[in-house]
Amino acid sequence: MILTTAIGIMVMAGAVTQTDFDTLHSALQPTGEEVWRTIPWETSMLKAQARAAEERKPLFIWAMDGHPLGCT
């Protein structure tokens, strides 16, 4: 089976070559340009509460099934 993907990588059944590795492994890493990553998310309700109390700001809670910073 051979497919050419949206990111221009030829995907073939068979062993992973060094070229596959170099191209795909880096292509799958975050670029650092994702806007949502620039938001200073806390991952603990209590740490967020402490910050909110100190800064006198309301809390915004992004509560999902599966961690929102992970697989959802």
Binding site: V16, H25, M45, L59, W62
Partner: protein, 297 residues
């Protein structure tokens, strides 16, 4: 995934969250069950909203806005950025800042409050479908089609020490296969049962990790066959590089990952050692959720 690419990429929402709110991201499956101050604070807020803890509903997921002492201000579970922007603005208008004490943490509920294994490793896992979707003009579908799944792979201290010696423990291979060779690009994946591991043929020689894996459910409706290549470096008795790529073909979908391409489609999964610089490095593996002992064994 949708939130990340739509609402939390909206410039005005991002600016509000950065400047006027304290944003927190949680997997509510933990906090809604957690019997400690962390859990009780979340439950207090959720129980003032439409999805109450213990009302028989399967989830309390959504976007909540609350005061620092836990008074509910608003809730939304829509993926529409305009709707979220509206409740953020309205909540700010309602909110009256007052002096509030910090909640004492007290004794944590260790069933839910746990971190990576001491002396072990955290490895970032990213997955992406490389093709096979039908073309679409639907912007939400396009987000899913281009999405990258993210999880963390935890390695125990004894497995870490074995890697340093150039050995690959079976427990590490099994955990990686069951919980990380999954398609999590559209949501929470269905993990593999141990009996669904058809074959793992991996070797570690001179720092090169290579081989193949094959996972399949009995019906054959969900399957992943992939070849692997990776590189492991040791510096001063510690693993300093753990880079691995799985490239293969997946078939099927899970209960919460509907909408996979038809038939077989190419799925790549990349592993790389976490350095703690990413906020998501602290997130427990999805496969450990409610079952850390089962994950880490």
């Amino acid at each position: 995934m949708l939130d990340r690419e739509s609402s939390f990429s909206h410039p005005e929402i991002v600016a509000l969250l950065k400047n006027d709110f304290v944003p927190v991201a949680i997997d509510q499956a933990y906090q809604r069950r957690q019997q400690d101050a962390e859990g009780r604070f979340y439950q207090k807020i959720a129980n003032q909203g439409p999805r109450k803890v213990g009302d028989g509903g399967p989830t309390t997921q959504g976007h909540y806005i609350a005061t620092p002492d836990g008074a509910f201000l608003d809730y939304s579970n829509h993926r529409d950025p305009d709707g979220l922007l509206e409740i953020l603005r309205e909540s700010l208008e309602q909110y009256e800042p007052t002096a509030v004490a910090q909640i004492e943490a007290g004794k944590p509920d260790l069933k839910f409050a746990y971190g990576p294994p001491e002396g072990g490793l955290v490895v970032r896992v990213h997955s992406r479908i490389l093709g096979g979707y039908d073309e679409t003009d639907d912007p939400m579908k396009r987000i899913f089609q281009k999405g990258t799944g993210r999880d963390n792979f935890w390695i125990r201290k004894d497995e870490h020490e074995a890697l340093v010696r150039g050995e690959l423990f079976e427990s590490l291979i099994t955990r990686m296969a069951r919980f990380h060779f999954v398609d999590n690009t559209r949501g929470e994946p269905t993990m593999w049962e141990e009996s669904e591991i058809v074959e793992t043929d991996l070797s570690l020689e001179d720092g090169v990790l290579s081989g193949s894996i094959h996972l399949k459910i009995d019906s054959g409706k969900r399957e992943y066959r992939a070849d692997l290549l990776g590189f492991i470096d040791v510096t001063a008795g510690q693993i300093s590089r753990f880079d691995l790529l799985a490239k293969g073909f997946f078939r099927g979908e899970g209960q919460y990952t509907r909408g996979a391409p038809e038939g077989e489609f190419p799925l790549a999964i990349a592993f790389t050692l976490a350095d703690g610089s990413d906020i998501a490095d602290a997130v427990p593996p999805q496969g450990s959720r409610g079952w850390l002992d089962g994950y880490i064994r």
